[in-house]
Amino acid sequence: MEAPRSREQQARDYLKTHRIMELLDHLTSVLLFVRPGNPREYLISVLECMKIAKETNVPFPYFMDNSNITAMFEMLDNSGKGTISFLQYKEALKTLGLCDADEVLSDDGHIINLPKFKKEVNKRTQEIWSSF
């Protein structure tokens, strides 16, 4: 039947345009990390912060700030040579929820070092947050 299928398609498009899954992922991670006594009130405060940040164009309260990204990079790079392999880079982005499992990232042959990793993580996070 045409009508229900297009409603399902409508729902999927809605999820994609508003990045609902990333929003819910972020809320769940924040909740599990902070473990507040009253989860509903805490979620309300987080959402209000996001709303205000969006309206006043203040930088968002990012979950992974710069020191966390550096720490993560250092964990991945266990030989300390300052670069990580392409596979590790892709896995890391997947773990952070910043890329889908089947998104094809181009391996342009250049090594991935810390500034490049930081830039990519920040760029993707910014992309997600701007659509909230």
Binding site: R7, Y14, L15, I20, L24, L32, R40, E48, M72, N78
Partner: protein, 456 residues
């Protein structure tokens, strides 16, 4: 293995918090609401939704043939759950609203809704669903046609309060009400039979619309029974898809079958079977620090103090396999003190079962245990008798299975059990006096179904 390929070590506080606060269900309802209403500004919508806090309001649909008692049950449930009742009559009275807007309005006022007799056909059900109204519980009342036709003949309505009475089953006590009662139209045998035909035609197509939330209740019993069955159903939650690592505690007197059930659970669900007695022996054999400490007590035939046992248990429960796969604990705690200390250390079980077995069955189970000293095979004189007379002649009994010792241990358990039951208020009591697989099925359903929620 580097940090991306190694399995992630999640601190156990996170899944415990998630389970306790029902984070998964919270996120699931948020996603459902977003998909149904698809607001342009999801953040404000979510803020309003969270402030409303009405995830647990009743959302019930009651269906059934005419004269099955739908309206009576619906009104009683309404009063009990403090919710709103919507029937076809009181909806058609309001001129400008439809089912959907009414139900939505009531949902938003945090009282929930109970639909009586709606939807009647599959088309109506589909329309309601596309508008985003999905009941959490659907009750279908069932009774044989002849009973219904007879019952309908005795139906009487009080025109002032719109309450339904019955000449035989539910006669009002006050004489003023009795005088007021009128016969409603459409209760003759032919009319009821016709309505039943229509009902049967429609209900067959309607039942598959609500696969997981449906329950049929036999309406051919006293009203109060039907009501209580409906109430227990409505107060129980459904199996949710939330990730769940079972941390099971089995409590019961000696001989109630704890080790057997723990073994079955460990085998079927991959949980780690932590038997306190067994663990003690293993730790001593390991000759670790704790093991040496325990051995020093056992040598002198003194009971091992609680702190040492707790230290040994915490070591075991902290290991990665217990955290990831879940555990089944039995043989500990034996009294409230131990239970409180276990709780204090953060090892809170999420399902607790009390296996109740009467003393006679315990005596039967334990005092008839025998062991064959030659082959080492264990027998039971009633449940697993030895095959030949020769073997039976040489069987011997373990001293701990002697009658006095068993009685002593069972007494010890019962002295502490009332306090333990009070401590684990939400524990599930199971009759352990049945065959092992029946008991296992009861335990399984206790683990898989969510704990019953008290009505708000």
């Amino acid at each position: 293995m580097d940090a991306t390929t190694a399995p992630h070590l999640i601190p156990p506080e996170m899944p415990q918090y998630g389970e306790e606060k029902h984070v998964f269900e919270l996120m699931q309802t948020m996603l459902e609401q977003l998909l149904i209403y698809q607001p342009e500004d999801p953040i404000s919508f979510l803020i309003k939704h969270l402030q409303r806090d009405n995830d647990n309001v009743p959302k019930i649909v009651i269906l059934g043939p005419p004269a099955s008692g739908k309206t009576t049950i619906a009104m009683w449930l309404c009063k009990h759950l403090n919710s709103n009742l919507l029937t076809r009559d009181n909806l058609t009275e309001r001129k400008s609203s439809s089912v959907a807007t009414e139900a939505r309005k009531h949902y938003q006022k945090f009282k929930g809704w109970i639909l009586d007799g709606i939807p009647e056909t599959r088309e109506q059900a589909l329309v309601i669903q596309t508008l985003g109204i999905a009941p959490r519980h659907v009750i279908v009342l069932n009774a044989p046609d002849t009973v219904l036709i007879e019952r309908n003949l005795g139906k009487r309505i009080d025109p002032q309060t719109r309450e339904i009475y019955h000449t035989t089953f539910d006669w009002p006590p006050e004489p003023e009400v009795q005088d007021r009662l009128i016969e409603p139209e459409g209760i003759s045998e032919q009319e009821t039979a016709q309505k039943l035909l229509v009902y049967h035609r429609n209900i067959i197509k309607l039942l598959p619309s609500y696969p997981r939330v449906l329950k049929t209740i036999n309406a051919d019993q006293p009203c109060v029974d039907v009501f209580y069955q409906a109430l227990t159903f409505v107060q129980s939650g459904h199996r949710s898809n939330a990730p769940f690592t079972p941390r099971v505690l089995l409590l019961g007197p000696m001989g109630s079958g704890k080790s057997l059930q723990a073994g079955l659970l460990a085998q079927k669900y991959g949980l780690v079977n932590v038997c306190c007695g067994q663990l003690l022996k293993e730790t001593v054999a390991d000759k670790s620090k704790v093991g040496e400490l325990i051995w020093s007590f056992l040598e002198k035939k003194v009971t091992v103090p609680d702190s040492v046992i707790l230290k040994m248990l915490t070591e075991r429960l902290d290991q990665q396999d217990c955290v990831q796969r879940g555990w089944v604990l039995h043989g500990f705690p034996r009294d409230v003190d131990q239970a409180q200390r276990l709780d204090g250390l953060g090892y809170v079980p999420n399902r607790v079962f009390f296996l109740n077995v009467p003393l006679d069955s315990i005596m039967e189970r334990l005092t008839l245990r025998r062991i064959d000293p030659v082959t080492g095979e264990r027998y039971h004189l009633m449940y697993k008798p030895p095959p030949t007379m020769e073997i039976q002649a040489r069987l011997s009994q373990h001293p701990r299975d002697a009658e006095e010792r068993v009685k002593f241990k069972v007494d010890l358990y019962y002295r502490n059990s009332t306090e333990l039951e009070h401590f684990y208020r939400w524990a599930i009591a199971i009759n352990g006096d049945q065959d092992p697989y029946t008991v296992f099925e009861y335990i399984e359903s206790g683990i898989i179904n969510p704990l019953p929620r008290k009505v708000l």
